[in-house]
């Protein structure tokens, strides 16, 4: 059974950048990787495909296509299998139902989420309804990671996600700090991780190189493979691939969360 992970965190905190760099780093080490973009914005895999936008499952379903595996599973950097679920236009229809339908179609027509070593679900920042937890509820995710910075609002979101995970009895396998340059950030996130019963898996420093590469349609692993930041992603990828024990997180109360960010 492949390692099936989901990366959660506040919108805009860098989940897609982290997911695609981890995917690329794992592919570099010879692992077979599949990345499933669950965000209606469908931008999870773009930096693994040299800036190319692939058709989403929802786009094809809307057009009434007879969908085959090769129409929705695309080979990206070093063979990473890329799938974008997509969704309706903002404000129309039901994106959550879209995820449920797309996941069941994907399971039916493709082995991309079984015949692989690592599946990364890049989920939207806000789990707004039942559909967005479909991968977890359908048993397709066995490890969860939370991405946050050391600022109050991202930590608040991370803590909320932990509430959701504990309600779903889903284990948390680690906290990743994507630095925004806040003071004492590594200590804050490390302490947060410890108090919810987890551990800080990686500290990703703020580096403009990530944005520069993304703008051109690349991950740093591909475009700047010798950079320090690429090294950080490689280390994170190794920790994720290593056997790790997850624990159901114990969310903090808001008072403690506010105290933490004052360290």
């Amino acid at each position: 059974m492949p390692k099936q992970i989901a990366i959660y965190g506040k919108g805009g905190i860098g989940k897609s950048s982290t997911a695609s760099n981890v995917a690329a780093a794992c592919a570099d080490e010879g692992h077979r990787v599949t990345i499933i973009g669950c965000d209606p914005k469908s931008d999870s895999s773009i930096t693994l495909l040299r800036g190319r936008r692939i058709p989403t499952i929802m786009d094809l379903m809307r057009q009434g296509e007879d969908i085959k595996e090769e129409d929705i599973v695309f080979s990206g950097y070093k063979g990473v299998k890329c799938v974008e679920i997509g969704g309706p236009e903002p404000g129309i229809g039901c994106a959550g139902r879209g995820i449920i339908v797309a996941i069941s179609l994907l399971k039916k027509i493709s082995k991309a989420i079984e015949d692989t070593d690592l599946v990364i679900y890049d989920v939207p920042g806000d789990i707004v309804c039942g559909g967005f937890v479909a991968p977890v509820k359908k048993g397709l995710v066995n490890e969860a990671y939370v991405l946050t910075s050391g600022e109050y609002m991202p930590l608040y979101a991370a803590n909320n996600i932990c509430k959701g995970l504990s309600r779903l009895e889903m284990t948390l396998n680690g906290v990743i700090c994507n630095s925004r340059g806040a003071p004492n950030e590594e200590n804050i996130v490390s302490e947060f991780a410890k108090e919810i019963g987890s551990r800080l898996l990686a500290f990703i420093p703020k580096d403009v190189l990530v944005q520069t590469c993304e703008r051109e349609g690349y991950s740093v692993i591909e475009k700047a493979s010798d950079s320090a930041i690429a090294g950080v992603y490689r280390k994170l990828a190794r920790s994720i691939m290593a056997r790790s024990e997850g624990k159901i997180p114990m969310p903090l109360d808001d008072k403690r969360l506010r105290e933490l960010t004052r360290i």
Binding site: R97, G130, K137, K138
Partner: protein, 372 residues
């Protein structure tokens, strides 16, 4: 990329996949079904199915259930069902509302851990063909070991054929079908009597869907009785899809009950053309038998699903069709069936019975035969 041929829009209301799943669970001898959804969903059929002895309850999702999820209600209802009905087999069936909000039926089962089998059917009514509801229910029955792989494949093949029958000449054949009460029973019965009296040779075919045969068989019985009374019994050949060795438990039982009663009331079945769930393909068997033995017969009475009988070998006969679908009249006329009679509201009268139920057309024919 192969683009699917866009299926034409069909505007008239058609049978629901959720209801199809409910009937399938009944055929699988399920004791209680929980509909996970709003209280009014499938009310009419839920009520009717209780006539067949299956209990149907609902989790009664309301606005707050839609917003906050219905897991707790499902757990509560499942526990209550176990306590109140002591069922040996439970079904849980989805609805549009619960499926859209992403309810996981299995979570409630995992939480409650009933010690009897639970068939979980994740279905909504948004499928083009209602047979999808049957397939999903059977897949789940297969997964819980209630039916065999062979039976599943057999059913799947039949359902595919049933869908094709509806697309060719049935409810899914046109963008819009006008409901129609069909021809006057009095006139059609009169014409049939005339043919019998003239000593014409006729085929008397029952090709009915499952329990509807309890009433359709009455028409074939009336035809046989009338012919006998007029002394032209040998001119009539009887065929029926009453094989009691195939299908789900209830269908076998019903085939046996109807066959026994027909025999006991003096009607001889010359050919068995399939089982009660084989109505989409039994017409092909009948067609072959006709071409081999009775190609020159003068008329045919076909009850149940007349449009499943290929027209080739009967097109020169005067056709009398009896259906229970007001939307089936126009397609049957288009096929070349001269007389089309509708037994309105037939299905509800065939639930919860184990004997032949009198039909209006059968009663009309018998009454008119008294004066013949």
């Amino acid at each position: 990329m192969p683009v699917k041929e866009k299926e034409p829009l069909i505007m008239h209301p058609r049978p629901s996949s959720i209801v199809a799943a409910l009937y399938t669970l009944r055929d699988l001898d399920t004791d209680v079904v929980i509909l996970h959804g709003p209280p009014g969903c499938c009310f009419k059929h839920a009520r009717l199915l209780e006539e067949d002895g299956m209990r149907v309850v609902t989790t009664s999702l309301d606005e707050s259930g839609f917003v906050f999820g219905g897991h707790d209600s499902l757990v509560e209802v499942l526990e209550k069902v176990i306590k109140r009905f002591n069922p040996k087999r439970i079904g849980i069936v989805g609805t549009c509302a619960s499926m859209i909000i992403g309810e996981e039926l299995h979570e409630a089962v995992t939480e409650v851990q009933p010690d009897v089998p639970v068939i979980e059917v994740e279905v909504h009514a948004g499928y083009r063909d209602n047979t999808k509801g049957v397939i999903i229910a059977l897949e789940s029955a297969l997964a819980s070991g209630i039916i065999s792989e062979a039976e599943f494949e057999r059913q799947k093949g039949l359902l595919k054929e049933a869908t094709m029958v509806e697309k060719r000449h049935g409810a899914a054949s046109k963008e819009y079908l006008e409901p129609n009460r069909g021809d006057l029973k009095f006139k059609v019965a009169g014409r049939l009597l005339e043919l019998l009296k003239q000593g014409k040779k006729g085929l008397n075919i029952l090709n009915a869907k499952k329990e509807t045969a309890f009433m359709f068989a009455d028409i074939n019985l009336a035809v046989a009785e009338t012919a006998e009374k007029l002394g032209c019994g040998p001119n009539i050949i009887n065929m029926a899809n009453l094989d009691d060795n195939v299908g789900l438990p209830k269908n076998r039982r019903n085939a046996r009950e109807i066959k026994d009663e027909l025999k006991q009331r003096g009607m001889e079945l010359h050919h068995i053309i399939g089982g009660l769930d084989e109505y989409p393909v039994a017409g092909n068997t009948a067609s072959r038998i006709i071409s081999e033995n009775y190609p020159d017969y003068d008329f045919a009475v076909i009850t149940g699903v007349p449009h499943a009988l290929p027209i080739d070998n009967i097109k020169n006969m005067e056709l009398f069709s009896i259906t229970n679908g007001p939307r089936q009249v126009v397609p049957l006329k288009d096929m070349g069936h001269k007389h089309v009679v509708v037994e309105i509201d037939l299905h509800p009268k065939t639930l919860g019975v184990n004997h032949i139920v009198e039909s209006e057309f059968g009663a009309t024919l018998r009454e008119m035969a008294k004066d013949a």
